[in-house]
Symmetry: C2
Subunit: 311 residues, 2 copies
């Protein structure tokens, strides 16, 4: 083991699913070993078939392991679906797509949690078996389910709203139930961070669940913090955010609307070319569409330079 | 729905895994609809990968569904092992063989149990999706784990002894932990039974767990009861019984040794040709090796005729 050759510059990324995972993948390759820690939303975690499923942890982990498919935001590239096909054959509830290789993650995690191992430790073990070396920390070890209250007044567990109801019911409110405690590992990483990056994830259902845990928004406010807009030219790259902003904030979806949501937390903000607005902090206006692996690392380098330039 | 045309003759079979399942399959086809209920050992149930696995319930269920392989005592014929292969690839604990189609059973069961559904009800639902119409009742809804105390004084959960340790450690004692309560469904079936059949399963680890629940041996004693020997010419058709009898009972393995174990319960006993002994009740001496589907139903008919002939 050799110590990082560059001056230590520790970065904590707060991430949800696909958008977050892609930026994390870029940061992973742009930063020297030992400098990146990822804190991941677990508000989407749910029980399915008796298993503990952590969609965002898995997306981040599979992306860093190089296992994510290019063409969809979940699961493992080239996975088979023999278990799911049998479930369909038997008429078992199969709304959530689980691949055969992917299932091993949920089985291992569920087995370990049932033996009393913490989600933080389980995640570290899963990362080790998948060859992922960056620390990936769940935002909390205790249940903190996100739920969606629809305009019709119905409350749905997040994944049921997103996947089963295809994010169709209009949203009145996002709720965070369960614990408000994060872990020592997360607080320690944030306290030591030279930079906090809020990834281009959904602010309401991916980032807020993290920020609303006790001590986290204070730690972000005390750190140098930047965000990357999850909105490009009024549209979300992926997911239901573009319709959620008008429903929840009563304004059109825009990079600025997301920045307003993070009011008081940011020291800088990255927006897509053409999305600049009059902001109380520096903006990085560039190509933030980072679907390819190359775009991810190019943007990550630009973002780190931008962050280093901030006072 | 039409009522059974034959005079009602209700049979309750007490069964463990493969041997029990094969006789149950014969009885299933020899008896008119509505007359057979199967009470199955759950002492082998265990947690693996966070799932609730019920090996004997599954073997009976798959056998009655026509899904069991001819060449092994577990799982579904023609199943694939993509999940298991991934587990091996990742170095995850994979000593218990789980097929992809088979997994759907464990996932469905575990999911339902986690929602508070009883094992009895879960089993009925699984049977329904698999097209099994005979009632299959777990011996209890609560945990009742069988453990093996080895001659070396080590206590192992049954499946770990059987599968992981390949039944190699010599047995000093079999223990039954947890609840001693059966279910209303089991007691009601036994009370209404015209005949109780103790299947050719291991008396120590398949049948005793059932008999030792409160009220069951009394109900069997009060009913007309017969057993089928799991020992043929001193050998067990399958499993570790032939070595367990000398270790536990201090005598050679034989049909008679098993009968002695059931002392006071039986009104008749079926043994293989050549295995007859001087018994205090009638013996049926015939071909009891029932590996083929044809042999199973031929023997089941013979067994029912024998039972009807008993006073």
């Amino acid at each position: 083991m050799t110590a990082p050759s560059q001056s230590a510059f520790s970065v904590v990324a707060l991430a949800g699913g696909v958008g977050g995972a892609r930026l994390v993948d870029g940061l992973d390759r742009a930063l020297p070993p030992g400098s990146l820690t990822v804190v991941v939303n677990t508000g989407d975690d749910f029980q399915h078939w008796g298993l503990h499923i952590s969609p965002d942890l898995d997306t981040v982990m599979y992306t860093l392991a190089g296992l994510s498919p290019e063409d969809r935001g979940w699961g493992i590239a080239g996975d088979t679906f023999h278990v799911l096909e049998e479930a369909k054959r038997r008429g078992v509830d199969e709304w959530f797509q689980l691949g055969d290789r992917d299932l091993v993650t949920h089985l291992s995690r569920s087995g370990a949690l049932a033996r009393g191992v913490s989600l933080t430790r389980v995640t570290a073990e899963l990362c080790e078996t998948l060859g992922v070396e960056r620390p990936i920390l769940p935002m909390t070890d205790a249940p903190r389910p996100t739920s969606i209250v629809t305009q019709a007044g119905k409350e749905l567990v997040f994944q049921e709203w997103l996947v089963k109801a295809r994010a169709a019911p209009a949203v009145r409110e996002v709720r965070h139930q369960g614990t408000d405690q994060t872990t020592h590992a997360v607080l320690a990483a944030l306290t030591a961070a030279d930079l906090v990056v809020i990834c281009p994830s959904n602010p309401y259902v991916s980032i807020d669940p993290i920020l609303k845990l006790a001590g986290i928004s204070e730690a972000v406010r005390n750190a140098k913090a930047i965000a990357v807009s999850p909105i490009i030219s009024g549209a979300a790259v992926k997911g239901p955010l573009a319709t959620m902003i008008p429903e929840i904030a009563g304004r059109d979806a825009s990079a600025e609307a997301v920045a307003t949501h993070y009011d008081g937390l940011l020291d800088g903000y990255a927006v897509h070319t053409g999305d600049a607005f009059d902001a109380p902090y520096p903006l990085l206006e560039t190509n933030i569409l980072i679907q390819s692996k190359e775009d991810r690392v190019v943007f990550a380098r630009e973002l780190i330079d931008f962050a280093r330039s901030l006072r």
